[in-house]
Amino acid sequence: MTTFEAILLTIVTASTPLLIAALGELVTERSGVLNLGVEGMMAMGAACSFAAAVTFDSTLIGVMAGMMAGALMAALFALVVLGFAANQVGSGLALTIFGLGLSGLIGAPFVGARRDPVPPVDIPGLSDIPFIGRLFFEQDLFVYSSVALTILIALYLTRTRSGLTLRSIGENHTSANALGLPVLRVRFVAILFGGACAGLAGAYLALVYTRFWSPGMTAGRGWIALALVVFAAWRPGWLLIGAYIFGAATVLQLHAQAAQFGVPSQVLSAVPYLATILALLLLSLRHGRAVGAPGSLGAPFVPDR
């Protein structure tokens, strides 16, 4: 394997958890709900997936547990913001703090345990193509799923009736309600989906990326995922690009240091953030019109009494 290939492989691993978590949040936000609890749901996903994977010695069970944990946390959030129409920003922040704390408690017995790497899945034939073969067709299942998920969500949002319903509820929940669309039901499902994705991203961190669990291991990735959704102007395609730019900049700055380019490492550490902003700004400019948030984003919806 050449150095260049190795670098690209690392970039893919660094970008995948961001992409998965951000995709879930994107769907939630397109339905008009702002969930700032991504970091907490991700931490829970990491802790529960690792705990389950070690206990049952199965990566698959671990992944399921991670997604389930994320979805359960999201259900709690949904109960508060949909059921009681509570403030979404406050509830989301509370969810993050709660999730980080609870994950520490759940994971405590598993501190110091380790898992073997998840083997990459070869796509026979394709992985033999020189250079791009290994890069694109010899990744772990998470990577394939994240790309597939991006495409499916893009198609769902733009090409299906149900996706249209979700978007219209996000744009204006009062009108949607007047038209007889099930605002709360759709939002509930969207929040659960977001939670499951955050949980999956956490599972990826714990089971593939680091292969051990320790408290606070998400280290702010949930917040980056949230920011990516905004930068991507709520579009799945741009999200994919944004996540990979971010991942690439993170990894490349480390390589630049190792190669002794002589640029201060603090500056290099800021590059991922600058690069993401810049790239998505350019994309947004090229698109030619301002792309904004869903109209009802963050506003509580109280059905007519």
Binding site: A14, S214, G220, R221, H255, Q257, A258, P264, S265
Partner: protein, 360 residues
Amino acid sequence: MFSRKLFGAFAGVALAALSASGAMAQAKDKIKVGFIYVGPVGDHGWSYQHDQGRQAIVKALGDKVETTFVESVPEADSERAIEQLARTGHDLIFTTSFGFMEPTLKVARKYPNIKFEHATGFKRAPNVSTYAAKFHEGRYIIGQIAGKMTKSGVIGYVGAFPIPEVIAGINAFYLGAQSVNPDVKIKVVWANTWYDPAKEGDAAKALLDQGVDMLAQHTDSPAPIQAAEARGKFGFGQASDMERFAPKAQLTAIIDDWSDYYIARAKAVLDGTWKSEDTWGGLAEHMVVMSPYKNMPDDVKKMAEETEAAIRSGALNPFKCPIYGQDGKEIECKGNGALSDEQVLGMNFYVKGIEDKIPQ
């Protein structure tokens, strides 16, 4: 009228406080000891070892002591956490990261009756002691091992932040490597975080991708050494024994052992003999401990053990003069045949042979 009464009440309280402070030097029956950790207790590294020290106090002093800790305290926002401990009746507070220095001093000024212990800092006050361990002694040993065992001739180092403590570690590591392999090259990558397993792992992978086959780390999670294990290369555990994460890759680990010091300081507060001082212990004082040497040929192991013994006996100082800066000029030798403690604690230059630049 009312305000005069109030004034009287205040004066009474102030007097009571004064007399209480006069009694502070007396022995106590029971003390409360608080700890501030920069990472989670479960980081398997730096904060984990400090918590081992806390547990050692409990074990040694039993019901004469009550301990609490606050984990994952961000350095920028540590003042609140420290003050919280000060307000809740703690007699002795350990703040265990370099970045807690200014906040510790600030809170200490407000609470002159409480004793503070700041790890790895250099600023003291009448009620603030500092303590640190000579990790660079251990790093000299692992440098020798790396220098001896490298096949590619390039060794790597994942650093957290370019602060003197880390830079001194890199220099000691490199000097150790150079002492057995004059042509050895070193690559340094700064993660700019003490604790982010994924990023630390990526930093390690970047070094391994660029031809490094020996990996030292000065960040707190086992991710870098785990990356070395996954690539079939070698590494060294940081702060605690990381063998379970990298059974084939860990050659040895530099373990911080704070237990003896923490017990002694808690006892001093109990006895009323606590004084502000600066403690800097190494292998000889058992503050720095090397985990068993493994996965290496016998001759390398023998060399490592001999070096360890020489440092412990004082026969060898990793920063023995002459030491040359990157420009080839000799560094003024302010200690006794070696760099002085101040020079090591404030180290802000790379030694000759390191081709990188310290980020400013």
